[in-house]
Amino acid sequence: MKTKNNLIKILIPVLSILAAFVIGGIIIVCLGKNPLEAYGFLFKGALGKPSKIAQTLEVASPLIFTGLAASFAYKCGMFNLGGEGQFIMGSIVSIVVSTQTGITGVPAIIISVICGALAGGIWGAIPGILKITRGLNEMIVSIMLNYVATLFMGCVFTNILRDGSVPQTPAVPKESQLSNIADGFRVHYGVVIAIILAVIIYYFMFYTSKGFKLRAVGMNPTAARFNGFAVNKIILAAFICSGAVAGLGGSIELHGKQFRLMQGYGAGFGFDGVAIALIAQLNPIGTVIVAIFFGILRKGASTLQAGMKIPTSVVDIIQALVIVFAVAGTALVRLPQVQQFFRVHFSGKRRGAES
């Protein structure tokens, strides 16, 4: 029974994604273009050469962090929609450390990244504290804090840390930048950090007693409270960790890819992370896989658009369709009626048959 479930778990997203591509293909046909050629561009752009794969991983890197941040809080039942704000606050503190303290090189990276994670954690703690002390809804507080963080970042790069006449901060010095994994490949060590972090979170969530408590609170806070768990403390801890992961992501994106803050920095990563975490059903390892898939989609979509000369919005539509279908697919198999259907038709001797 277990293998069958696992097979379905993998097969359904794959089929859903294919369905999304088919509909996307129909749109492309309607524009008078060849969809096979279009998807050829997509795969070629994302995975065609080792250097392309490297770039795809680099695109995926911040998404892994924000995805992990979202899944961490959601495991505890908390909707942290503030990934973007935490990501940005982490980046702001990091840029201050890396450009204003005079420390350079590896120590700068380490200190800066730690400070970034702390800043993200503090920013993430605010909705947590307001939730447990004042009973405020965490979604609205974290959304408000996103706006505040983005505006504060604007203030930082136009006023406080302005680099000459241009409204952007100075860049992280060369020697403090995260180096690329191999020469000529545009992918930095941040991806490795992201994957290690995912494994650690996976271990923490499923193999430690603290992780168990976190999940217990997420599943049923009332029951957890009756069992004597310090529910409030756990909720706050989940928020802090979630924020810290997002802040760490911001700090790493800053040191590995973008190097400076400017208009539009970090926009959309938080919400993409939420979508990724939910498609991965809050599994940290799954989050990495889905984030990399999103990376492929984003990187490839840009090549597709450039190569086929179709409006940019078409590739956005395809990306949204992938989300719609992937989640609908997984939800579909969890429906009681559908589960019953499986039990009736695929049990007994034919157990293990696909779909």
Partner: protein, 324 residues
């Protein structure tokens, strides 16, 4: 069961196989291609629109092929440029200094691709910077605003506090004060280039708070919204940019300060064709015709003021309007 899985795998790999060998059409010899990227939309009625139009106009004259990607996120600048470089576009047009870092990075990785950076300050073997004179734009608008105002209050709406906008605001203010030191200038930033509703609101509040009657803006769709607020009232005027937005019987736009980005882009294209690209900055000002005074609304601007204004324009052109 194994058999079936195998069959599916085979089918999938076949399908993937067939779609990963696309036929990329190789550009014929002598065919030039230009691509641009944009962080806003090409139909924003302002900056994005005018830059896109500039590229299309220049390409039409030169017989080049064009492509564009708009609404690009900041983190995807390099990705998009790399894509166009990979697709063997000859020239990549990056309209704004926010693309500077990305242009530097990608131009180093693709030495055979040429880049044109608008409002930039990068000069390398394969990058030309193009610089319309923001100061003159501000002077041109300010001088006209100064001549036209009856309430001695004029306004300015910026999108974001970027350096070209700041320069335009500063020189706008200087020019207004030069015409008449008693005129007050109010300014505000919308924090957006596309929130037309906010533009309308800002214009309304400028009028009700300071009795502003002439406005100039550097905020694309936000300006469009501001103009709507002005249109609802009597004797409130707007100065357009960067395209020639007005007409002889316009009710709101008294005149436009026109930036002919097409001429600048064309100059870069010619450099590519001539094979002598790079290491320079192309300036655009009144002198070389890249900046122009647009169409006056004869309904709103009297002949007398028009003549007076053209005198000031000559001074701005000669550099004698405001001595530094």
């Amino acid at each position: 069961m194994k058999k079936r899985t195998g069959a599916i795998m085979l089918a999938v790999s076949l399908a993937v196989g067939t779609i990963t060998v696309p036929t990329v059409s190789v550009a014929a010899e002598g065919d030039y291609k230009i691509a641009m990227l944009l962080d806003s939309s090409i139909s924003d009625g302002g900056w994005g629109a005018s830059c896109y139009q500039a590229m299309v106009d220049a390409a039409e004259e030169m017989g080049w092929e064009t492509a564009y990607t708009d609404n690009v996120a900041t983190s995807d600048f390099t990705t998009v440029m790399t894509d166009y470089a990979d697709l063997e576009y000859n020239l990549i047009f990056a309209p704004g200094n926010e693309y500077t870092d990305a242009v530097i990075q990608v131009s180093e990785e693709y030495p055979d691709t040429y880049f044109c950076l608008l409002n930039g300050a990068v000069e390398t073997d394969n990058v030309i910077s193009v610089m319309p004179d923001a100061e003159q734009i501000g002077y041109l608008a300010g001088a006209l605003a100064g001549l036209m105002t009856q309430t001695n209050n004029v306004g300015f709406i910026g999108g974001m506090e970027i350096d070209t906008t700041k320069t335009k605001l500063d020189s706008y203010e200087a020019a207004v004060k030069k015409v008449n030191p008693d005129i007050n200038v109010s300014s505000a930033y919308a924090g957006s280039y596309d929130d037309a509703a906010k533009g309308k609101e800002i214009a309304n509040s400028m009028i009700s708070t300071y009795d502003v009657d002439v406005m100039f803006g550097d905020a694309s769709a936000v300006d469009t919204g501001a103009r709507e607020a002005l249109a609802d009232m009597e004797n409130k005027f707007s100065i357009g940019q960067p395209g020639d937005l007005g007409s002889a019987d316009d009710e709101v736009i008294i005149c436009s300060v026109v930036t002919d980005n097409a001429a600048l882009v064309k100059e870069c294209m010619e450099a590519v064709e001539a094979g002598e690209y790079g290491n320079k900055t192309v300036f655009g000002n009144l002198d070389d015709g890249c900046l122009k005074v647009g169409t006056f609304s004869d309904k709103l601007v009297s002949k007398e003021i028009q003549d007076k204004y053209m005198e000031l324009v000559e001074q701005i052109k000669a550099g004698t309007f405001i001595e530094k």
